[in-house]
Amino acid sequence: MIHHRGFIVVMLVVTLSLPVMAQEDTANDFNSLLSNLDIHGFYEIRSGYRMRKDKYEKDMSIMEQRLQLDISSYLDWADFKVKGDIIGDLVEEQADFDLREAYIFTRPYDFMDLKVGRQILTWGTGDLVFINDLFPKDWQSFFIGRDTEYLKAPSDAVKISLFSDLANLDIVYTPQFDSDRFISGERLSYWNSNLSRLAGADAIQHTDKPNRWFRDDEIAVRVYKNINNYEYALYAYHGYWKSPGGQNAAATKAIFPDLNVYGASVRGNVGKGIGNLEVGYYESDDDQSGKNGNINNSELRFLAGYTREIGKDFTAGLQYYVEHMLDYGRHKDSSPSGLNRDRDRHLITVRLTKLLMNQNLRCSLFIYFSPSDKDTYMRPNINYKVSDNLAVEAGANIFFGDYPGTFFGQFQNNTNIYTALRYSF
């Protein structure tokens, strides 16, 4: 799948650039593309093990070599970039190619930027908590201990940015729905509500994913403005729940129901630190009444965060986040297998980051804790830069919870530790 779409994107980018190049002196352009070529990347080895026996998954949580190549160049009228990872994966026992970026960027007018192709997209104010950022996430990479960069999965999209004194506008159009790389049971065990037990490789979630070009599409819009260094933004999204948000009536396949999101955020200096607020209304469009137990309920989501320095090279961040189901009673009554959560899911996150040894050693801890789900997810990490090119890293993904079916609690048996070595060039 990944290969296939990556190929389409590269072809699309090439095709789009051809007519423009033809107008110019193509040979000249080709020469400048070559002479402006900039190649970087890294080679990485990463290995990790489960700390608990998981009868549905391998003991190895991650075991891979990865070569990332980042190739960029430019012409007068545009920038070009292709970034991809070649992966030798010993857990899945296969070689893989993950095309992360392949795009053309251009500034056709003073008031406009345009980015076309495969790209990583991020907006919103949360720290590892997302409300209005509905671009695809790779939760699997996140939980098995890949670099945080891999939490963001690429989108095949067109991003149009318009700038004015009044406000700025971003429009992202994704012609074919890009879902999250969600937990399917392949690498991580999870709570399967149909089986009412933990499951994994024995019960891989099959999905019925919207995949028609230009029909099953997504559009995300952001209007934003900086007023006295407070950043205000309004957001809208029309598309689908990014991870499965329900199942078909026969309960054989997970589905991605229609979703609209409307939200707002603000971020700026508060006292000695940075404060942020973000809200979002999740309208589960296939179940407006909230009666269908097979489809996610509509929700209100709210986030408040604060980050500040608490010592030399020592930063602390605190966030409070809540998901409020709008038709909880109806949803619960009609849910075929019962519900594993309260109406409100409260979540508190804490981030501590300390830099030592001339900032070459970074110790960090990120904690998600839900008082309503009674579960916790901790991400300790230590990264040391041996030299400008070489870094070594160790960390863990630790899950625990009182109940087997809660958001983080279900991953208890996936608790893992990992180490990595990365050479950048």
Binding site: D113, Q119, E149, K152, N269, G273, I274, R308, E309, F425
Partner: protein, 269 residues
């Protein structure tokens, strides 16, 4: 005061100012505030904007070196007042294309605004900026050395006037807010370039020295193109070299989220 003259510009007025005097016997100024203001101006505010490529070589006491390379763009909102900085990283490679942006506020009650753009995640982060006396990119230079220490934070005393230099002692008004008890700055009497800064710890022991090793006149502006900071406690030192220094480049307002996410091409190439 403060070194790092490069993205700084002395207005044309510097020439006019000194033309009246015999260049070899500069007028002797006795008012310390005039001296520190001029030095601050020369170090940080020359021209209305500027650009430079900076290479930092950090050498620890064992002799291991690390390299930082970045392009810095500066625009003054007000001479001697607020400024905006844009820093585009080239090296080390793992932070290549990262952008750091600062709105510097000289109002002592107001913290600077800082942003960081991480290209791998396409993430625009806001950074809390309360402590300016932390290391800049792991070097021996501090944030405050790079963007300038607010003159209002210290009291200034002219302790010596030699043939070539004014020596000014700076004592923090809030001693608990910093790690030094005072620092002396030697300021060139002709150009007002701060050529040496010596920091003394709470026991009055010299522990940190910044020296301007090479000064060039660029577009009429005296510019420190090489400086070195030595940390006598840790044995570490950092050499900072400026190349491609240009003043008055008519920088438009690139200090926005638009250019954080995608740098202005003319400015970084």
């Amino acid at each position: 005061m403060k070194l790092l003259p490069a993205f700084t510009i002395i207005l044309v007025f510097s020439t006019a100012l000194f033309a009246a005097n015999d260049p070899n016997r500069p007028e002797k100024i006795t008012d310390v505030e005039t001296i520190v203001n001029k030095a601050n101006f020369v170090a940080y505010y020359q021209g209305k904007d500027g650009k430079a490529k900076i290479k930092m070589t950090i050498t620890d006491k064992k002799g291991q070196t690390r390299l930082r390379e970045f392009i810095i763009l500066r625009k003054d909102i007000k001479d001697g007042g607020d400024q905006k900085y844009y820093v585009y990283f080239l090296k080390p490679v793992d932070v290549r294309k990262m952008v750091f942006m600062v709105y510097k506020h000289t109002d002592i009650k107001k913290d600077d605004d800082r942003w960081l753009y991480l290209p791998g995640l396409d993430l625009v982060k806001r950074i809390a900026a309360s402590d300016k006396r932390t290391s800049f990119v792991g070097s021996d230079f501090l944030y405050e050395d790079v963007s300038g220490r607010n003159l209002q934070e210290d009291t200034h005393e002219l302790i010596e006037t030699t043939d070539k230099y004014y020596v000014v002692r700076n004592v923090p008004r809030e001693p608990d807010s910093v790690e030094f008890s005072y620092f002396n700055v030697s300021i060139d009497r002709k150009t007002f370039v701060p050529v040496k800064m010596e920091f003394y710890d709470k026991k009055n022991k010299l522990y940190r020295v910044i020296k301007s090793q090479k000064v060039e006149t660029i577009q009429g502006f005296p510019t420190v193109v090489k400086s070195i900071v030595s940390d006598l406690n840790t044995g570490s030192k950092t050499v900072m070299e400026f190349t491609n220094v240009k003043y008055n480049i008519n920088l438009k307002d690139i200090f926005t989220e638009r250019y954080l996410r995608r740098p202005p091409r003319e400015a970084i190439r």
